[in-house]
Protein backbone atom coordinates (compact mmCIF):
# COMPACT_ATOMS: atom_id res chain seq x y z
CA UNK A 1 0.00 0.00 0.00
CA UNK A 2 1.16 3.49 -0.67
CA UNK A 3 0.66 5.54 2.51
CA UNK A 4 0.00 8.63 0.39
CA UNK A 5 -3.18 7.12 -1.03
CA UNK A 6 -4.59 5.81 2.24
CA UNK A 7 -7.08 7.40 4.58
CA UNK A 8 -6.55 7.67 8.31
CA UNK A 9 -8.26 8.00 11.67
CA UNK A 10 -7.14 10.37 14.41
CA UNK A 11 -6.44 7.23 16.45
CA UNK A 12 -3.75 6.24 13.92
CA UNK A 13 -5.45 3.48 11.95
CA UNK A 14 -5.03 3.54 8.18
CA UNK A 15 -7.81 2.43 5.85
CA UNK A 16 -7.69 1.16 2.27
CA UNK A 17 -11.10 0.86 0.64
CA UNK A 18 -11.70 -1.62 -2.15
CA UNK A 19 -15.36 -1.92 -3.09
CA UNK A 20 -17.23 -2.53 0.13
CA UNK A 21 -14.20 -3.91 1.96
CA UNK A 22 -11.97 -1.71 4.12
CA UNK A 23 -8.52 -3.03 5.03
CA UNK A 24 -7.18 -1.60 8.29
CA UNK A 25 -3.74 -1.30 9.86
CA UNK A 26 -1.84 1.14 12.05
CA UNK A 27 0.26 3.96 10.67
CA UNK A 28 4.05 4.10 10.68
CA UNK A 29 3.80 6.97 13.18
CA UNK A 30 1.92 4.74 15.64
CA UNK A 31 4.04 1.65 14.92
CA UNK A 32 7.18 3.58 15.79
CA UNK A 33 5.74 4.53 19.17
CA UNK A 34 5.20 0.90 20.10
CA UNK A 35 8.38 -0.70 21.39
CA UNK A 36 8.43 -4.45 21.75
CA UNK A 37 4.86 -5.42 20.96
CA UNK A 38 3.94 -8.40 23.14
CA UNK A 39 0.42 -9.12 21.97
CA UNK A 40 -2.00 -8.21 19.21
CA UNK A 41 -5.67 -8.74 19.94
CA UNK A 42 -7.68 -8.89 16.72
CA UNK A 43 -11.47 -8.94 16.34
CA UNK A 44 -13.09 -12.25 15.43
CA UNK A 45 -14.40 -12.75 11.91
CA UNK A 46 -18.10 -11.99 11.79
CA UNK A 47 -17.99 -9.51 14.66
CA UNK A 48 -20.06 -6.37 14.10
CA UNK A 49 -18.01 -3.20 14.48
CA UNK A 50 -18.86 0.46 14.42
CA UNK A 51 -16.77 3.47 13.51
CA UNK A 52 -14.81 4.85 16.46
CA UNK A 53 -15.52 1.90 18.76
CA UNK A 54 -12.66 -0.24 20.01
CA UNK A 55 -12.42 -3.72 18.55
CA UNK A 56 -8.96 -4.97 19.50
CA UNK A 57 -5.68 -3.95 21.07
CA UNK A 58 -1.95 -3.82 20.57
CA UNK A 59 -0.05 -4.39 23.79
CA UNK A 60 3.46 -3.85 25.07
CA UNK A 61 4.69 -4.86 28.53
CA UNK A 62 3.38 -1.71 30.16
CA UNK A 63 0.77 -0.38 27.74
CA UNK A 64 -2.47 -1.42 26.10
CA UNK A 65 -3.41 0.49 22.97
CA UNK A 66 -6.92 0.01 21.72
CA UNK A 67 -7.65 -0.49 18.04
CA UNK A 68 -10.67 1.34 16.71
CA UNK A 69 -12.67 0.38 13.70
CA UNK A 70 -12.63 3.25 11.22
CA UNK A 71 -15.96 2.23 9.68
CA UNK A 72 -19.25 0.50 10.42
CA UNK A 73 -19.58 -3.08 9.27
CA UNK A 74 -18.61 -6.65 9.98
CA UNK A 75 -15.14 -8.14 10.31
CA UNK A 76 -14.48 -10.24 7.21
CA UNK A 77 -10.86 -11.19 7.87
CA UNK A 78 -8.09 -10.80 10.44
CA UNK A 79 -4.37 -11.07 9.86
CA UNK A 80 -3.32 -13.99 12.03
CA UNK A 81 0.27 -13.69 10.81
CA UNK A 82 0.51 -10.51 12.85
CA UNK A 83 -0.87 -12.21 15.93
CA UNK A 84 1.95 -14.76 15.85
CA UNK A 85 4.60 -12.32 14.64
CA UNK A 86 3.77 -8.85 15.99
CA UNK A 87 7.09 -7.55 14.65
CA UNK A 88 5.42 -7.30 11.22
CA UNK A 89 3.55 -4.23 12.44
CA UNK A 90 6.81 -2.36 12.86
CA UNK A 91 8.55 -3.89 9.85
CA UNK A 92 5.80 -3.35 7.32
CA UNK A 93 2.82 -1.47 8.76
CA UNK A 94 1.24 -0.79 5.36
CA UNK A 95 1.80 -4.26 3.92
CA UNK A 96 2.27 -7.51 5.80
CA UNK A 97 1.41 -5.71 9.02
CA UNK A 98 -2.24 -5.10 8.08
CA UNK A 99 -4.62 -6.02 10.89
CA UNK A 100 -8.19 -6.69 9.79
CA UNK A 101 -10.73 -6.21 7.01
CA UNK A 102 -14.23 -4.83 7.46
CA UNK A 103 -17.10 -5.57 5.13
CA UNK A 104 -18.72 -2.16 5.31
CA UNK A 105 -22.41 -1.72 6.05
CA UNK A 106 -24.40 -0.25 3.16
CA UNK A 107 -24.01 3.49 3.34
CA UNK A 108 -21.12 3.35 5.84
CA UNK A 109 -19.59 6.78 6.05
CA UNK A 110 -15.95 7.52 5.19
CA UNK A 111 -16.31 11.28 5.49
CA UNK A 112 -14.71 11.45 8.94
CA UNK A 113 -11.43 9.91 7.73
CA UNK A 114 -8.37 12.06 7.09
CA UNK A 115 -6.33 12.10 3.88
CA UNK A 116 -2.55 11.62 4.07
CA UNK A 117 -1.76 15.34 4.30
CA UNK A 118 -4.34 16.03 7.00
CA UNK A 119 -3.14 12.99 8.95
CA UNK A 120 0.47 14.11 8.75
CA UNK A 121 -0.54 17.43 10.21
CA UNK A 122 -2.48 15.66 12.97
CA UNK A 123 0.64 13.65 13.86
CA UNK A 124 2.80 16.74 13.89
CA UNK A 125 0.40 18.36 16.34
CA UNK A 126 0.30 15.30 18.53
CA UNK A 127 4.07 15.03 18.68
CA UNK A 128 4.21 18.45 20.36
Amino acid sequence: MDPKTLRYTKTHEWVAVDGDVATVGVSRFAADLLNDITFVGLPATGKAVSAGKDCGAIETVKSANDLYSPVDGEISAANHEVATNPGLIQEDPYGQGWLFKVKMSPGASLGHLLDAAAYEEHCANEAH
Partner: protein, 480 residues
Protein backbone atom coordinates in the same frame (compact mmCIF):
# COMPACT_ATOMS: atom_id res chain seq x y z
CA UNK B 1 28.34 -25.35 47.06
CA UNK B 2 24.70 -24.72 46.42
CA UNK B 3 23.13 -22.57 49.09
CA UNK B 4 20.09 -21.15 47.36
CA UNK B 5 17.46 -23.48 45.98
CA UNK B 6 15.87 -22.09 42.87
CA UNK B 7 14.64 -25.35 41.53
CA UNK B 8 10.90 -25.57 41.45
CA UNK B 9 9.07 -27.90 43.80
CA UNK B 10 8.21 -30.19 40.92
CA UNK B 11 11.90 -30.49 40.10
CA UNK B 12 12.75 -31.37 43.70
CA UNK B 13 10.01 -33.99 43.75
CA UNK B 14 10.93 -37.67 44.11
CA UNK B 15 8.27 -40.32 43.82
CA UNK B 16 7.18 -41.70 47.16
CA UNK B 17 8.83 -39.02 49.32
CA UNK B 18 6.56 -37.55 52.00
CA UNK B 19 6.39 -34.72 54.47
CA UNK B 20 3.04 -34.80 56.27
CA UNK B 21 1.53 -38.09 57.40
CA UNK B 22 -2.20 -38.45 57.85
CA UNK B 23 -3.55 -40.66 60.64
CA UNK B 24 -5.12 -44.00 59.85
CA UNK B 25 -8.87 -44.14 59.81
CA UNK B 26 -10.42 -44.93 63.20
CA UNK B 27 -13.97 -45.35 61.88
CA UNK B 28 -15.50 -48.34 60.24
CA UNK B 29 -17.19 -46.65 57.38
CA UNK B 30 -16.81 -46.46 53.65
CA UNK B 31 -16.16 -43.12 51.97
CA UNK B 32 -19.62 -43.43 50.42
CA UNK B 33 -18.64 -41.74 47.19
CA UNK B 34 -19.92 -43.07 43.85
CA UNK B 35 -17.25 -44.41 41.51
CA UNK B 36 -18.36 -42.06 38.73
CA UNK B 37 -17.32 -39.04 40.80
CA UNK B 38 -13.88 -40.35 41.72
CA UNK B 39 -10.55 -39.63 40.08
CA UNK B 40 -8.25 -42.50 39.22
CA UNK B 41 -5.33 -40.89 41.03
CA UNK B 42 -4.85 -37.79 43.17
CA UNK B 43 -3.42 -34.64 41.54
CA UNK B 44 0.29 -35.07 40.83
CA UNK B 45 1.47 -32.64 43.50
CA UNK B 46 5.18 -32.48 44.28
CA UNK B 47 6.51 -35.18 46.61
CA UNK B 48 9.15 -33.84 48.98
CA UNK B 49 10.39 -34.49 52.49
CA UNK B 50 10.02 -32.00 55.33
CA UNK B 51 13.61 -30.81 55.23
CA UNK B 52 13.37 -30.32 51.45
CA UNK B 53 10.26 -28.25 51.89
CA UNK B 54 11.71 -26.11 54.68
CA UNK B 55 15.00 -25.43 52.90
CA UNK B 56 13.20 -24.61 49.69
CA UNK B 57 10.86 -22.03 51.17
CA UNK B 58 13.40 -20.61 53.60
CA UNK B 59 15.98 -20.15 50.87
CA UNK B 60 13.38 -18.55 48.66
CA UNK B 61 12.46 -16.14 51.43
CA UNK B 62 16.03 -14.84 51.49
CA UNK B 63 15.53 -13.69 47.91
CA UNK B 64 13.03 -11.07 49.12
CA UNK B 65 13.55 -7.62 50.48
CA UNK B 66 11.06 -6.86 53.23
CA UNK B 67 10.49 -4.33 55.99
CA UNK B 68 12.11 -6.77 58.38
CA UNK B 69 15.31 -6.72 56.30
CA UNK B 70 15.48 -3.30 54.67
CA UNK B 71 14.38 0.32 54.51
CA UNK B 72 11.44 0.22 52.09
CA UNK B 73 10.44 3.78 51.09
CA UNK B 74 7.85 2.66 48.55
CA UNK B 75 5.72 5.74 47.96
CA UNK B 76 1.96 5.44 48.51
CA UNK B 77 2.40 2.01 50.13
CA UNK B 78 3.23 3.13 53.70
CA UNK B 79 5.77 0.42 54.45
CA UNK B 80 6.04 0.97 58.19
CA UNK B 81 7.30 -1.48 60.78
CA UNK B 82 4.96 -4.40 61.49
CA UNK B 83 5.04 -5.02 65.25
CA UNK B 84 5.75 -8.59 66.31
CA UNK B 85 3.26 -8.43 69.17
CA UNK B 86 0.50 -8.29 66.56
CA UNK B 87 1.50 -11.65 65.14
CA UNK B 88 1.43 -13.36 68.50
CA UNK B 89 -1.87 -11.80 69.57
CA UNK B 90 -3.69 -12.47 66.30
CA UNK B 91 -2.62 -16.09 66.63
CA UNK B 92 -4.31 -16.61 70.03
CA UNK B 93 -6.60 -19.65 69.72
CA UNK B 94 -9.56 -17.57 70.95
CA UNK B 95 -9.11 -15.33 67.88
CA UNK B 96 -7.49 -17.44 65.14
CA UNK B 97 -9.71 -20.44 65.89
CA UNK B 98 -13.10 -18.71 65.81
CA UNK B 99 -15.36 -20.06 63.09
CA UNK B 100 -17.05 -17.34 61.02
CA UNK B 101 -20.51 -18.87 61.34
CA UNK B 102 -20.56 -19.21 65.12
CA UNK B 103 -23.60 -17.64 66.78
CA UNK B 104 -23.06 -14.14 68.15
CA UNK B 105 -23.20 -15.16 71.78
CA UNK B 106 -20.30 -17.56 71.26
CA UNK B 107 -17.90 -14.88 70.03
CA UNK B 108 -18.61 -11.76 72.08
CA UNK B 109 -14.91 -10.94 72.48
CA UNK B 110 -14.37 -10.98 68.72
CA UNK B 111 -17.50 -8.91 68.08
CA UNK B 112 -16.46 -6.39 70.72
CA UNK B 113 -13.09 -5.90 69.00
CA UNK B 114 -14.78 -5.47 65.62
CA UNK B 115 -17.35 -3.09 67.09
CA UNK B 116 -14.62 -1.00 68.64
CA UNK B 117 -12.71 -1.03 65.36
CA UNK B 118 -15.79 0.35 63.61
CA UNK B 119 -15.99 3.10 66.25
CA UNK B 120 -12.29 3.92 65.98
CA UNK B 121 -12.40 4.20 62.20
CA UNK B 122 -15.47 6.44 62.40
CA UNK B 123 -13.78 8.73 64.90
CA UNK B 124 -10.54 8.95 62.91
CA UNK B 125 -12.36 9.79 59.67
CA UNK B 126 -15.09 11.99 61.16
CA UNK B 127 -17.72 9.89 59.40
CA UNK B 128 -20.33 8.17 61.57
CA UNK B 129 -20.92 4.74 59.98
CA UNK B 130 -18.48 1.97 59.11
CA UNK B 131 -18.37 -1.31 57.21
CA UNK B 132 -15.39 -3.54 57.90
CA UNK B 133 -16.29 -5.95 55.11
CA UNK B 134 -14.23 -4.87 52.04
CA UNK B 135 -11.29 -7.19 51.46
CA UNK B 136 -8.81 -4.53 50.32
CA UNK B 137 -8.58 -0.88 49.34
CA UNK B 138 -9.77 -1.49 45.78
CA UNK B 139 -12.78 -3.39 47.09
CA UNK B 140 -13.42 -0.56 49.54
CA UNK B 141 -13.65 1.85 46.63
CA UNK B 142 -15.94 -0.48 44.76
CA UNK B 143 -18.14 -0.98 47.82
CA UNK B 144 -18.45 2.76 48.36
CA UNK B 145 -19.45 3.22 44.72
CA UNK B 146 -22.05 0.45 45.12
CA UNK B 147 -23.32 2.34 48.17
CA UNK B 148 -23.48 5.56 46.13
CA UNK B 149 -25.32 3.79 43.30
CA UNK B 150 -27.84 2.31 45.74
CA UNK B 151 -28.33 5.71 47.36
CA UNK B 152 -29.07 7.40 44.04
CA UNK B 153 -31.31 4.54 42.94
CA UNK B 154 -33.22 4.84 46.20
CA UNK B 155 -33.71 8.55 45.51
CA UNK B 156 -34.74 7.71 41.93
CA UNK B 157 -31.79 9.75 40.62
CA UNK B 158 -30.81 7.23 38.00
CA UNK B 159 -29.35 9.96 35.81
CA UNK B 160 -26.37 10.07 38.20
CA UNK B 161 -24.13 8.10 35.86
CA UNK B 162 -20.67 9.61 36.09
CA UNK B 163 -17.73 9.23 38.42
CA UNK B 164 -15.07 11.91 38.17
CA UNK B 165 -11.49 10.82 38.79
CA UNK B 166 -8.31 12.98 38.85
CA UNK B 167 -5.71 12.08 36.23
CA UNK B 168 -3.20 11.44 39.02
CA UNK B 169 -5.43 8.84 40.68
CA UNK B 170 -4.58 5.22 41.21
CA UNK B 171 -5.87 2.96 38.38
CA UNK B 172 -8.26 1.23 40.74
CA UNK B 173 -10.42 4.39 40.86
CA UNK B 174 -11.58 4.29 37.21
CA UNK B 175 -11.61 0.47 37.22
CA UNK B 176 -13.92 0.43 40.25
CA UNK B 177 -16.12 3.10 38.69
CA UNK B 178 -16.59 1.00 35.55
CA UNK B 179 -17.29 -2.15 37.56
CA UNK B 180 -19.95 -0.28 39.54
CA UNK B 181 -21.67 0.63 36.28
CA UNK B 182 -20.52 4.26 36.11
CA UNK B 183 -18.77 6.12 33.36
CA UNK B 184 -15.32 7.29 34.51
CA UNK B 185 -14.46 10.89 33.57
CA UNK B 186 -10.94 12.24 34.05
CA UNK B 187 -10.28 15.55 35.80
CA UNK B 188 -6.96 17.28 35.13
CA UNK B 189 -4.35 18.32 37.63
CA UNK B 190 -3.27 21.95 37.67
CA UNK B 191 0.30 23.26 37.45
CA UNK B 192 0.54 23.15 41.25
CA UNK B 193 -0.06 19.37 41.25
CA UNK B 194 -3.49 19.78 42.85
CA UNK B 195 -6.90 19.18 41.31
CA UNK B 196 -7.61 21.81 38.66
CA UNK B 197 -10.76 23.28 40.15
CA UNK B 198 -11.74 24.95 36.87
CA UNK B 199 -11.48 21.68 34.98
CA UNK B 200 -13.45 19.97 37.72
CA UNK B 201 -16.11 22.67 37.59
CA UNK B 202 -16.44 22.28 33.82
CA UNK B 203 -17.12 18.57 34.24
CA UNK B 204 -19.51 18.78 37.17
CA UNK B 205 -23.14 18.55 36.21
CA UNK B 206 -26.38 16.88 37.10
CA UNK B 207 -24.98 13.52 35.92
CA UNK B 208 -22.16 13.61 38.44
CA UNK B 209 -22.59 10.87 41.00
CA UNK B 210 -19.23 10.83 42.75
CA UNK B 211 -15.96 12.69 42.70
CA UNK B 212 -13.09 10.48 43.88
CA UNK B 213 -10.19 12.32 45.42
CA UNK B 214 -6.99 11.24 47.14
CA UNK B 215 -6.06 13.68 49.90
CA UNK B 216 -3.24 14.12 50.66
CA UNK B 217 -2.71 13.37 47.00
CA UNK B 218 -0.19 11.09 45.33
CA UNK B 219 2.34 13.94 45.29
CA UNK B 220 2.18 14.12 49.07
CA UNK B 221 0.40 17.48 48.94
CA UNK B 222 -2.74 18.48 50.73
CA UNK B 223 -5.58 19.58 48.45
CA UNK B 224 -5.82 23.02 50.02
CA UNK B 225 -9.08 23.85 48.22
CA UNK B 226 -10.75 20.65 49.37
CA UNK B 227 -13.61 22.41 51.15
CA UNK B 228 -14.48 24.39 48.03
CA UNK B 229 -14.13 21.27 45.88
CA UNK B 230 -16.49 19.34 48.14
CA UNK B 231 -19.00 22.17 48.10
CA UNK B 232 -18.98 22.27 44.32
CA UNK B 233 -19.56 18.53 44.12
CA UNK B 234 -22.35 18.75 46.68
CA UNK B 235 -23.92 21.65 44.79
CA UNK B 236 -24.62 19.38 41.81
CA UNK B 237 -25.96 16.68 44.10
CA UNK B 238 -22.83 14.54 43.94
CA UNK B 239 -20.92 12.71 46.64
CA UNK B 240 -17.26 13.12 47.55
CA UNK B 241 -15.25 9.93 47.92
CA UNK B 242 -11.92 10.06 49.67
CA UNK B 243 -9.33 7.49 48.65
CA UNK B 244 -7.76 6.94 52.04
CA UNK B 245 -4.46 5.56 50.78
CA UNK B 246 -2.61 8.45 52.40
CA UNK B 247 -4.30 8.60 55.80
CA UNK B 248 -0.91 8.13 57.43
CA UNK B 249 -0.30 11.84 56.95
CA UNK B 250 -3.34 13.22 58.73
CA UNK B 251 -4.20 11.01 61.72
CA UNK B 252 -5.62 13.25 64.43
CA UNK B 253 -4.71 16.34 62.43
CA UNK B 254 -7.71 16.65 60.16
CA UNK B 255 -10.59 14.35 59.27
CA UNK B 256 -12.12 13.60 55.88
CA UNK B 257 -15.62 14.01 57.30
CA UNK B 258 -14.65 17.48 58.48
CA UNK B 259 -13.32 18.58 55.10
CA UNK B 260 -16.31 17.45 53.08
CA UNK B 261 -15.86 13.76 52.23
CA UNK B 262 -19.04 11.67 52.30
CA UNK B 263 -17.33 8.28 52.06
CA UNK B 264 -13.80 6.99 52.41
CA UNK B 265 -11.86 3.76 52.54
CA UNK B 266 -8.92 2.88 54.72
CA UNK B 267 -6.02 0.66 53.83
CA UNK B 268 -5.63 -0.99 57.22
CA UNK B 269 -2.58 -2.86 55.94
CA UNK B 270 -0.91 0.50 55.29
CA UNK B 271 -2.05 3.05 57.84
CA UNK B 272 -2.59 0.64 60.72
CA UNK B 273 0.29 -1.66 59.84
CA UNK B 274 -1.39 -4.93 59.01
CA UNK B 275 1.60 -6.49 57.25
CA UNK B 276 1.53 -6.39 53.45
CA UNK B 277 2.12 -10.14 53.13
CA UNK B 278 4.05 -9.95 49.84
CA UNK B 279 1.10 -8.23 48.17
CA UNK B 280 -1.88 -9.16 50.31
CA UNK B 281 -4.05 -9.69 52.28
CA UNK B 282 -5.25 -6.16 52.53
CA UNK B 283 -8.26 -4.80 54.34
CA UNK B 284 -10.31 -1.88 53.04
CA UNK B 285 -13.05 -0.84 55.46
CA UNK B 286 -15.14 2.18 54.55
CA UNK B 287 -16.77 4.90 56.59
CA UNK B 288 -19.67 7.03 55.34
CA UNK B 289 -22.06 9.81 56.32
CA UNK B 290 -25.23 8.98 58.23
CA UNK B 291 -27.55 9.20 55.21
CA UNK B 292 -25.50 6.50 53.45
CA UNK B 293 -25.45 4.13 56.42
CA UNK B 294 -28.58 2.16 55.38
CA UNK B 295 -26.85 1.15 52.15
CA UNK B 296 -23.65 -0.26 53.71
CA UNK B 297 -22.95 -3.98 53.26
CA UNK B 298 -24.48 -6.53 55.59
CA UNK B 299 -23.77 -7.65 58.20
CA UNK B 300 -22.39 -5.00 60.54
CA UNK B 301 -21.66 -5.29 64.25
CA UNK B 302 -24.15 -3.51 66.50
CA UNK B 303 -24.33 -3.20 70.26
CA UNK B 304 -27.52 -3.83 72.21
CA UNK B 305 -26.95 -2.96 75.85
CA UNK B 306 -23.77 -4.81 76.71
CA UNK B 307 -24.17 -7.48 73.99
CA UNK B 308 -22.73 -7.38 70.50
CA UNK B 309 -24.38 -8.95 67.47
CA UNK B 310 -24.10 -9.15 63.71
CA UNK B 311 -26.99 -7.28 62.14
CA UNK B 312 -28.18 -8.49 58.74
CA UNK B 313 -31.64 -6.97 58.92
CA UNK B 314 -30.77 -4.08 56.66
CA UNK B 315 -33.35 -3.82 53.88
CA UNK B 316 -31.61 -1.08 51.90
CA UNK B 317 -28.16 -2.64 52.15
CA UNK B 318 -26.21 -3.34 48.95
CA UNK B 319 -25.72 -6.88 50.32
CA UNK B 320 -22.35 -8.57 50.49
CA UNK B 321 -19.10 -7.94 48.68
CA UNK B 322 -17.34 -11.03 50.07
CA UNK B 323 -17.90 -14.06 52.26
CA UNK B 324 -18.26 -13.79 56.05
CA UNK B 325 -17.37 -10.58 57.85
CA UNK B 326 -14.08 -9.13 56.60
CA UNK B 327 -10.31 -9.55 56.65
CA UNK B 328 -10.38 -10.15 60.39
CA UNK B 329 -6.67 -10.95 60.71
CA UNK B 330 -5.72 -7.53 59.39
CA UNK B 331 -8.52 -5.73 61.26
CA UNK B 332 -7.31 -7.30 64.51
CA UNK B 333 -3.81 -6.00 63.87
CA UNK B 334 -5.28 -2.55 63.18
CA UNK B 335 -7.12 -2.71 66.49
CA UNK B 336 -3.92 -3.79 68.31
CA UNK B 337 -2.13 -0.85 66.74
CA UNK B 338 -4.74 1.75 67.59
CA UNK B 339 -5.01 0.38 71.16
CA UNK B 340 -1.22 0.52 71.48
CA UNK B 341 -0.87 4.09 70.27
CA UNK B 342 -4.04 5.81 71.43
CA UNK B 343 -4.89 9.31 70.23
CA UNK B 344 -1.54 10.84 71.10
CA UNK B 345 0.41 8.02 69.48
CA UNK B 346 -1.56 8.20 66.24
CA UNK B 347 -1.04 11.91 65.99
CA UNK B 348 2.65 11.39 66.54
CA UNK B 349 2.66 8.85 63.73
CA UNK B 350 1.52 11.50 61.28
CA UNK B 351 3.78 14.21 62.68
CA UNK B 352 6.88 12.06 62.46
CA UNK B 353 5.89 10.68 59.05
CA UNK B 354 5.68 14.27 57.82
CA UNK B 355 8.93 15.34 59.47
CA UNK B 356 10.79 12.30 58.09
CA UNK B 357 9.48 12.88 54.57
CA UNK B 358 10.38 16.58 54.62
CA UNK B 359 13.82 15.85 56.00
CA UNK B 360 14.55 13.27 53.31
CA UNK B 361 13.17 15.63 50.68
CA UNK B 362 15.52 18.34 51.85
CA UNK B 363 18.52 16.01 51.78
CA UNK B 364 18.05 14.94 48.15
CA UNK B 365 16.23 17.74 46.38
CA UNK B 366 19.34 19.45 44.98
CA UNK B 367 20.06 16.37 42.87
CA UNK B 368 16.59 14.92 42.59
CA UNK B 369 14.39 17.95 42.11
CA UNK B 370 10.93 17.92 43.62
CA UNK B 371 8.81 19.74 41.06
CA UNK B 372 5.62 20.13 43.09
CA UNK B 373 5.23 21.88 46.43
CA UNK B 374 7.64 23.67 48.76
CA UNK B 375 7.04 21.13 51.44
CA UNK B 376 5.31 17.78 51.55
CA UNK B 377 3.27 15.75 53.95
CA UNK B 378 4.04 12.04 54.38
CA UNK B 379 5.71 11.52 50.99
CA UNK B 380 7.12 13.41 48.05
CA UNK B 381 7.80 12.77 44.40
CA UNK B 382 11.33 13.58 43.26
CA UNK B 383 12.47 13.53 39.66
CA UNK B 384 15.56 12.09 37.98
CA UNK B 385 14.86 14.31 34.98
CA UNK B 386 18.07 16.31 35.38
CA UNK B 387 20.18 13.18 35.81
CA UNK B 388 18.55 11.70 32.77
CA UNK B 389 19.24 14.77 30.68
CA UNK B 390 22.79 15.29 31.87
CA UNK B 391 24.03 11.77 32.46
CA UNK B 392 21.44 9.47 30.91
CA UNK B 393 20.61 8.05 34.33
CA UNK B 394 16.90 7.30 34.54
CA UNK B 395 14.67 6.80 37.57
CA UNK B 396 14.68 3.09 36.77
CA UNK B 397 18.48 2.95 37.01
CA UNK B 398 18.43 4.73 40.36
CA UNK B 399 15.76 2.36 41.64
CA UNK B 400 17.65 -0.74 40.54
CA UNK B 401 20.96 0.48 41.91
CA UNK B 402 19.44 1.21 45.32
CA UNK B 403 18.79 -2.51 45.67
CA UNK B 404 22.56 -3.11 45.59
CA UNK B 405 22.92 -0.91 48.66
CA UNK B 406 20.32 -2.88 50.57
CA UNK B 407 17.52 -0.36 50.19
CA UNK B 408 14.22 -1.10 48.53
CA UNK B 409 13.44 1.25 45.67
CA UNK B 410 10.88 4.05 45.86
CA UNK B 411 7.82 3.81 43.64
CA UNK B 412 8.96 4.79 40.15
CA UNK B 413 7.18 6.40 37.19
CA UNK B 414 4.11 7.18 39.27
CA UNK B 415 2.36 9.57 39.34
CA UNK B 416 2.71 10.28 35.63
CA UNK B 417 2.64 14.05 36.09
CA UNK B 418 6.25 13.93 37.27
CA UNK B 419 8.78 12.83 34.65
CA UNK B 420 11.27 10.21 35.87
CA UNK B 421 9.34 10.02 39.12
CA UNK B 422 10.78 8.62 42.33
CA UNK B 423 8.02 8.60 44.92
CA UNK B 424 9.43 8.30 48.43
CA UNK B 425 7.53 7.60 51.62
CA UNK B 426 9.91 6.95 54.51
CA UNK B 427 7.15 6.50 57.16
CA UNK B 428 7.43 7.39 60.83
CA UNK B 429 9.16 4.21 61.95
CA UNK B 430 12.56 5.04 60.44
CA UNK B 431 15.42 6.73 62.28
CA UNK B 432 17.33 9.81 61.20
CA UNK B 433 20.42 7.64 60.62
CA UNK B 434 18.56 5.49 58.13
CA UNK B 435 17.31 8.54 56.28
CA UNK B 436 20.85 10.01 56.25
CA UNK B 437 22.29 6.78 54.87
CA UNK B 438 19.61 6.53 52.22
CA UNK B 439 20.13 10.14 51.12
CA UNK B 440 23.87 9.55 51.00
CA UNK B 441 23.40 6.51 48.76
CA UNK B 442 21.10 8.46 46.44
CA UNK B 443 23.84 11.06 46.09
CA UNK B 444 26.47 8.39 45.47
CA UNK B 445 24.37 6.83 42.73
CA UNK B 446 23.98 10.16 41.00
CA UNK B 447 27.77 10.26 40.67
CA UNK B 448 28.13 6.77 39.27
CA UNK B 449 28.85 5.77 35.71
CA UNK B 450 25.72 5.54 33.56
CA UNK B 451 26.85 2.37 31.77
CA UNK B 452 27.44 0.70 35.13
CA UNK B 453 23.99 1.78 36.32
CA UNK B 454 22.33 0.41 33.20
CA UNK B 455 23.42 -3.03 34.35
CA UNK B 456 22.27 -2.55 37.96
CA UNK B 457 21.38 -4.25 40.19
CA UNK B 458 24.67 -6.11 40.44
CA UNK B 459 24.34 -7.94 43.75
CA UNK B 460 20.75 -9.17 43.88
CA UNK B 461 19.63 -12.75 43.33
CA UNK B 462 18.96 -12.01 39.68
CA UNK B 463 19.79 -9.24 37.24
CA UNK B 464 17.06 -7.46 35.31
CA UNK B 465 14.42 -9.87 34.04
CA UNK B 466 13.24 -9.95 30.44
CA UNK B 467 9.68 -8.73 30.83
CA UNK B 468 8.99 -8.65 27.10
CA UNK B 469 9.76 -12.33 26.81
CA UNK B 470 7.56 -13.06 29.84
CA UNK B 471 4.58 -11.31 28.24
CA UNK B 472 5.21 -12.49 24.68
CA UNK B 473 5.58 -16.17 25.40
CA UNK B 474 3.84 -16.58 28.73
CA UNK B 475 4.96 -19.50 30.88
CA UNK B 476 2.53 -19.41 33.78
CA UNK B 477 3.12 -22.74 35.48
CA UNK B 478 5.63 -25.54 35.64
CA UNK B 479 5.58 -27.89 32.70
CA UNK B 480 6.97 -31.38 32.51
Amino acid sequence: MKTIATELLNELSRKGRRCHHVPASDVEADHGLPASALSAAPPALPEVGEIDLIRHFVNLSTRNMAIDTSFYPLGSCTMKYNPKRHERLAGLPGLAGVHPLQPDDSCQGMLQIMYEMQQFLCEISGLPACSLQPAAGAQGELTALYVAAAYFRHRKQTHKSRVLVPDSAHGTNPASAALAGFEAVTVKSGPDGLVDVNDLASKLDDKTAVFMITNPNTLGLFESRIVEIAKRVHDVGGLVYLDGANMNAILGLTRPGDFGADMQHYNVHKTFTGPHGGGGPGSGPITVRDFLEPFLPSPMVVKDGDRYRLDSDRPLSIGRVRGYFGTIGILLRGWFYIRTLGAAGLREVSEVAVLNANYLREKVKDIYAVPYGDRCLHEFVASAKKLRAEKKISAMEVAKRLLDFGFHAPTVYFPLVVPEALMMEPTETESKETLDQFAEVLRTIAGEDAAFLKEAPHTTAISRPDEVKAAKEPILHWKR
